[in-house]
Symmetry: C2
Subunit: 693 residues, 2 copies
């Protein structure tokens, strides 16, 4: 990666003197951004561009350029890549479009290029992207006009869409946020996001990373990289549903992800998933500051109204507004003109015109370990006091840095004061208090990242028994109900006692053994949705009920099963009491095995009270998974209710996680319902469905 | 109001030539804004300001000015107001602070002023506010510097905080939104928001209104005015909790409102409650356009990535992206360069360089009644095509107006293109697709406003019986349980059969009459929270249970009731089945009677699944109230479950609404639980608590 970002020379291929030539935009941008290395424009028609001669062929280069940027029609790209390979160029950026995003013909071209880079040992970024920027050295490979040239700074961008990345970079500049490195991934033929992200994690110039992704190259690896990230990582992943899938596919040949899995995975990895560019611009304004390590916020404000708005935002985002220390409160009170009101938090400083008071108050707050961040509403500032106010602002920023106290400044003065902060202090400010509090909340989320789960193992899982059981079953499709129930037992999850019967008499005997009331379920290899066809009969209180139910199942089997398929009835005691939950697992296309937990019964679908985690999870992570749901809070014994046996529940979830990791052939597990009982009475799975493949 | 907004002359009182004099800022702003009427600066020290002579006293005015703006120290204000009164000035704006927001002394000053304006028949805006702006005539009374002077337009602001209002006005200008009128209310001694809002509703220059309120003068009246509003009304009401109450009180002497009531009231009145200034700036960009009357959105985009982001925002905000008509799809396909991909919605036009195609596509969409709004991602635009792209934009805006189709434009080109839209076309644009879709969603909310409930009456309410019952009870405090249960019956709400007992034997007889199982509840005048003290005993299946329970209640009564207080046991059959809900009512300090409905049982507190309505509500509004909750959706028979008797439920809610309107002495009603049964089997209240006062 290093050579992509720090080339000493760049060949720009596809340049001509034609006014509508796009490639020469690359040369223009490089020069405007102040690139000091060598630039070699290349194009068959020769001529000059921005004072540089255009070489007519790659072989005419005086040296193998460190990087070649290619912007020719797609059909010529393979030849150019080969030319580069022959010249010994090993880093290539392809900005041309017209590849896999346009269908079969383009896909073939990509395949051809893939073979070439393999042969010549080339690393390639693109195609169908805008290339690479490194503001540290003025490297600026996008061809499209950059107005303005990005502000230099410490935030790096990895964007699958060049347009989105460039638009954001322009807004960052406007909002006072500086760019360090930028990569537009395009179709990700060779280099994808994870490799770049890993590089940026170790890059001294980068303090935070924003990723825009339409498809995930390898979600699991992304988690792996981000989990160890010492810097804030923000991702925007909009392609998560039917609304976006068609357009995203035609744009960057990307497949949609599952929004709930993306959401869960980001939380687990400590990645902030932003839902819009505007969200990112808010969050990023605290880049480079220490993280907000608690809920206590002090708001200093000269505008009473903006103080109220800030306090409301604290309510929205769960910040507390602790009282000031008595000494500080007295000092503010004594310094105020009217000396009437004791200061509360937010502190309304509207009545104090001596800015040295503000600085002293702020320095005090900086040294108070119980204050986790300070929000300053800067303004209104009247003309005569402007210089003093600005001096105070400078002091505050210095103190915040000195004492490592997170500081958010919201400019509520005239808009030109925003420019002062942005351009003279290089300190990005917020436009409204709500945005500032939101950014502090993002920072707090980053501070609260949980430690990654490493090598979680469930001692309750009988690996050999499960392997033996699976060996006896077909390699794909749903397991028979009885096999599913057995497998769950081997996982250490208790299952309600059950027996099978193929005759009415056997069913009666089983019911007698298990104890009334019982329920009967139809089981057959081809039957997946037994409830829907009437194959589950509950509430059987006596032998007559059981006989009738067995006959009914026989009737259902006759109607719904393929002629001649063997079936049996599964008899279970009808379990009363406890709370109903659902436990499940499936394999996500990009993130791999995922564990789900949620409320059962009537609330399941209406509430969508389900939380997810990417496996592996240990008991502790399972606990967090459970508490992410409303039902989890109820189970925990919220507000006076007796707590249920969460330990057994978490053990079951961790065991399921282990199962999915250990047995990749298991595609899907659905335990619905599972009853969770108060006290130490454990859990009981009442049904299980498992798909292998 | 008219004279406040359209004065032909303005006296500015408190002016001096001193460099730090604040009042002269008013004169400066008036001149910069181009006010053409007469300006009379007044101040005891005389001199000149901005070329105008400073009159030394109000009585020196050559005429009674239409408006007097006062900015002197608070203690002088009463005298100045009296001077104005004597001169025959009847419209006064007081910008000075130092009144009720600073405590008792200031309150006394306000009282003095109140008497004076009464005597001289003066209308007064303020004190402690920034006064009035009317951009139509350059009236600009705020004293603080306005950089920039607001853009002229059609949005009016009513703000309790001058600072918040001015800051927003500055941002509106930056965002391309024009200001029409502005009032900073301050302490609302005389003129409050409702009167101004009513005026603006009939003001031809105003197309939308934003209100910033820290306290509500009269929430019920606000609803009344806004409900009939022919224009969009946006309110920001941050002072809704303990976080904000202290600072808001010290800022504008305002009391906090109940957030849930505010939220419900705004919905009922068709007011958009924005939670931040940034929200408003997004929503307001569609001002003057027709409302979005459905869910079907078409996105035209030149950037594939921004199209994906727009589609994601549609997912977030519940918009549909219908397919294009076959003709239109063919036309786009034929016009594309690569001719490979069939256009989906979002339409990626990145491959089309002929902008007349865009105009033709847009005109087509404008004429399609199934398309409820169009979002255009404008850009990227390359230098050579800029002029043609701009021509297209102009055409689109014209067509949108001609065909009355809501159009949101998001500029994804270089930022200078935003300036083109703002400054040359006067068309506010969005920075990111998510903001555009959010604004369209706000517009759709405005289009879906429900009609106000007028004179809803419940025929099931026995007014006379209730009046008689209340006459027999103490005038304040909680009614005895038996009286509460009777009152509820008179309301037409069925209550589970019940009897009272003062001896164990009576209890046994009652239980025998009602049928087992039963429950026993302790009832006594002073007992409010009977469950908490163990005064409710459930699940009594036989006479022994009942005897024991009665003895237990006697014990509880002995322990918890004041010595000698009479008590009785209420015996009720234990009702099984149905879903548990809660019905309630209370009086909000600003909005008056409020009706609540929510889930009962274990989910009540965890889910906070409660919805509110300001009374009166009719059956139809009650239906909407019920469906606002999750439990309501379950009761309705969501996803296969049998529906319950919603008609009885809604009748009960409407009846309760009628009770609160008819009997102002009833402060609080709490029916918890109420069981709702499937089919036509009605509802049954199992307990009732009523407070009068």
């Amino acid at each position: 990666m290093e050579r992509f970002f720090y080339p000493r020379s760049v060949a720009v291929i596809g340049v001509s003197a034609n006014p509508v030539n796009l490639a020469k935009g690359i040369v223009r941008n490089m020069r405007e951004a102040g690139y000091q290395g060598k630039i070699y424009p290349v194009g068959p028609r020769g001529g000059t561009v921005y004072g540089l001669p255009i070489l007519s062929h790659v072989r005419d280069l005086p040296e193998p350029a460190d990087v070649a940027a290619i912007l020719t029609p797609a059909r010529f790209v393979p030849q150019v890549v080969e030319d580069c390979g022959k010249m010994g160029i090993t880093r290539v950026v392809v900005e041309s479009g017209g590849f896999s995003e346009l269908g079969e013909q383009g896909k073939a071209l990509e395949k051809e290029i893939a073979q070439l880079i393999d042969r010549y040992n080339i690393r390639l970024i693109g195609p169908n992207g805008l290339g690479v920027i490194n503001m540290e050295i003025g490297l600026c490979l996008p061809f499209s006009q950059m107005a303005p040239i990005p502000r230099k700074g410490s935030i790096s961008i990895i964007s699958q869409s060049g347009g989105v990345g460039m638009h954001l970079a322009a807004w960052m500049t406007k909002e006072g946020l500086g760019l360090n490195k930028f990569v537009s991934l395009g179709n990700k033929l060779n280099v994808a996001e994870n490799e770049i992200l890993a590089y940026l994690m170790g890059d001294p110039g980068t303090e935070a990373v924003y990723l825009y992704l339409e498809g995930l190259h390898d979600g699991r690896e992304l988690l792996h990289v981000a989990r160890r990230a010492p810097k804030p990582v923000y991702v925007q992943i909009p392609n998560v549903g039917e609304e976006t899938s068609a357009i995203a596919f035609s744009h960057t040949a990307s497949l949609a992800s599952d929004e709930r899995v993306v959401e869960a995975a980001c939380r687990q990895a400590g990645i902030i998933r932003v839902k819009s560019q505007a969200d990112f611009l808010v969050a990023a304004k605290l880049t480079g500051q220490p993280l907000v390590k608690g809920d206590n916020l002090v708001v200093l404000s000269r505008s009473g109204g903006e103080a109220v708005i800030a306090a409301y935002a604290c309510r929205q985002w769960g910040f507390k507004l602790p009282s000031l220390s008595p000494d500080l409160a007295d000092f503010i009170h004594e310094s105020s003109r009217s000396k009437i009101i004791k200061p509360t938090n937010p502190v309304d400083l509207g009545d104090i015109f001596d800015f040295s008071v503000y600085s002293r108050v702020f320095a005090d707050l900086c040294q108070d370990p119980e204050v986790h961040a300070v929000l300053v509403n800067y303004g209104p500032v009247y003309d005569p006091e402007r210089e003093e106010a600005r001096r105070m602002a400078r002091l505050m920023i210095e103190d915040a840095q000195k004492y490592q106290k997170p500081l958010a400044i919201c400019v509520t003065a005239t808009l030109e004061e925003e420019e002062f902060f942005r351009d003279e202090l290089g300190f990005p400010v917020f436009h409204f208090p709500g945005q500032a509090v939101r950014a502090l909340a993002y920072s707090r989320t980053l501070a609260n990242r949980s430690q990654p789960v490493v090598g979680a193992r469930s001692p309750w899982l009988s690996r050999d028994k499960i392997a033996a059981l699976l060996a006896d079953q077909p390699a794909s499709g749903f397991l028979p109900m009885t096999a599913s129930l057995s497998l769950i037992t081997h996982l250490g999850i208790p299952v309600a006692g059950w027996q099978t019967a193929t005759t009415s008499q056997e069913a009666l005997t089983a019911a007698g053994d298990l104890g009334y009331p019982v329920c009967l379920k139809l089981a057959a290899p081809s039957l997946v949705h037994k409830t829907e066809v009437g194959g589950v009969i509950l509430g059987l209180y006596n032998p007559e009920d059981v006989s009738a139910a067995f006959d009914k199942l026989a009737e259902v089997a006759g109607k719904t099963l393929p002629r001649g398929e063997a079936w049996e009835a599964v008899i279970m005691p009808q379990v009363e009491g406890g709370e109903e939950v659902i436990i499940g697992a499936h394999r996500d296309a990009t993130f791999g095995p995922v564990i789900a937990f949620g409320a059962g019964g009537i609330w399941t679908e209406i509430l969508e009270d389900v939380a997810l985690r990417v496996a592996p999870i240990d008991n502790e992570e399972a606990w967090r998974l459970v508490l992410d749901t409303k039902i989890g809070q109820i189970l925990q014994g919220a507000r006076g209710r007796p707590a249920v046996d969460l330990t057994s529940l978490c053990r079951a979830l961790a065991g399921l996680s282990q199962l999915m990791i250990s047995f990749p052939q298991i595609q899907e597990v659905d335990l619905n319902p599972v009853r969770v009982f108060p006290g130490g009475k454990g859990i009981l799975a009442l049904d299980a469905r498992i798909r292998v493949g």
